[in-house]
Symmetry: C2
Subunit: 237 residues, 2 copies
DNA sequence: TGTACATCAGTGAACGCGCGTTCACTGATGTAC
DNA sequence: TGTACATCAGTGAACGCGCGTTCACTGATGTAC
């Protein structure tokens, strides 16, 4: 026999209408993602999305006030998804295995990118022309770099350190500002290495996904892992 | 008094008509480039190009059989231009200054990319959806990597070598095949490092140009140079 | 609990636009004899 | 050198298409009393 009826559950505070609305919002984004996978972000069309969902094109405007807003939602979702993939993969590793954690995070990013190449291109490829990323994208975009920095900071705290690089003044001050902003104990030199590793990571995935390694590298996964191991070693992990 | 009339000069073997044709082909590509700079590769439109040149849109078809062919020409031109920029910058350095040559080549790429961001995005950003790069793009695309490898090979020949990395079997065999194909004396380990440096180079420029370093790095040029110096050091230059 | 009203979701037509590509055509330029 | 013909460059109209966005509208769902 059921217990006394719950008060409205958290996930649907405003009743049925709100729940349906959330559901359709999700469906619109899913259809948009599917469409993007076929024809890229430039081919994303509200009318095609509406068609796929069997609704009037004007109905989509009840959910997203313009095509750009839909694009923004997709970008935010993509950043969150790839960050989630990296975080999940990294969380599976023993805390003290710093290079294992770095590699796992990197593989998490690569695995997600392979499964969702157009979404990857949306956030790490050419910016959509005429589109300006709003503030909402900043926080989700920062999650992976912060995760990587955390790994390196944990390693440093455990005494695993990389040789110190001498930084030019402007690099030193840029990184000091970053260091203050994210409140990390990592010194600027190691921060610089970590940032380089992050760019290497993205650069390598982009090369693979965008076809610059076609007919040159065949064992992509092994090649990527190898690179990330070299990076981890240079970071002292 | 003029010497006896030359036979037709090489550059215009078929007379006036051919010369005019070449000239207009150039103008069409220039207009297309200008348009791309404003609205990206997805916004490239034959009609707009024709409009800019004051001709009927159908006239463009006398020069490029389709929009895709025009895009291919732009891609080939972009690869050639950026490679030229790298080669020119590198050629200015003393032959024995290997890290200076690497840095100059890298700066050449970055300088060109900053001056032509949309063309950079065209070749190093997201691939144009539905577009398949034809064979013509392969050779020009290879020029920069070959230049970088040449620098490292020269350094190795002069006795400057980086610590040898142990490569996983599949990486070893991929790079052995590459080594045979380009007929270099560089060992696979150093080839692997050079390739990583090339990806770091492109990754870093993409991060800067695509806005991933906004509000984090302010001294872009110094930051880039710093990274390339680290890479050069790791390459033993 | 029942009713009156406000809010909301979804419709379908329309506006105005630009696109790639084709086609039959007109003159001008080049070529062969 | 002069003429007849072939090739080429460029035109303008048209085809068929899809797009983002707006608008007045109809029912259905939710809210206040």
């Amino acid at each position: 026999m059921p217990a006394s009826p719950d008060p409205q559950p958290r996930s649907a505070p405003a009743g049925v209408r709100a729940r349906v609305r959330e559901e359709l919002t999700r469906e619109i984004k899913a259809a948009a993602r599917k469409q993007m996978a076929e024809s890229g972000s430039a081919g994303l069309s509200l009318r095609a999305v509406a068609r796929e969902l069997g609704m009037a094109s004007s109905a989509v405007y009840r959910y997203f006030p313009s095509r750009d807003e839909l694009l923004t939602a997709l970008i935010v979702d993509a950043y969150s998804a790839v960050a989630g993939a990296a975080e999940t993969a990294e969380a599976d590793q023993p805390r003290a295995d710093f290079s294992g954690r770095w590699l796992a995070a990197a593989q998490g990013v690569r695995g997600w990118a392979q499964a969702n190449p157009q979404e990857y291109a949306l956030i790490f490829g050419s910016p959509v022309p005429g589109y300006r990323a709003p503030q909402d994208t900043i926080d989700p975009a920062a999650r992976i770099p912060l995760l990587l920095i955390q790994i390196v900071a944990d390693a440093a705290a455990a005494g695993q350190v990389a040789p110190v690089l001498e930084l030019p003044p402007s690099v030193q001050s840029d990184l000091a500002a970053l260091r203050a902003q994210i409140a990390t104990n990592l010194d600027e030199s190691t921060l610089a290495r970590a940032a380089m590793g992050w760019m290497q990571l993205v650069g390598s995935i982009s090369f693979e996904l965008f076809g610059h390694l076609n007919n040159v590298i065949h064992g992509y996964a092994e090649y990527f892992d190898f690179q990330m191991e070299v990076v981890a070693a240079e970071l002292g992990l």
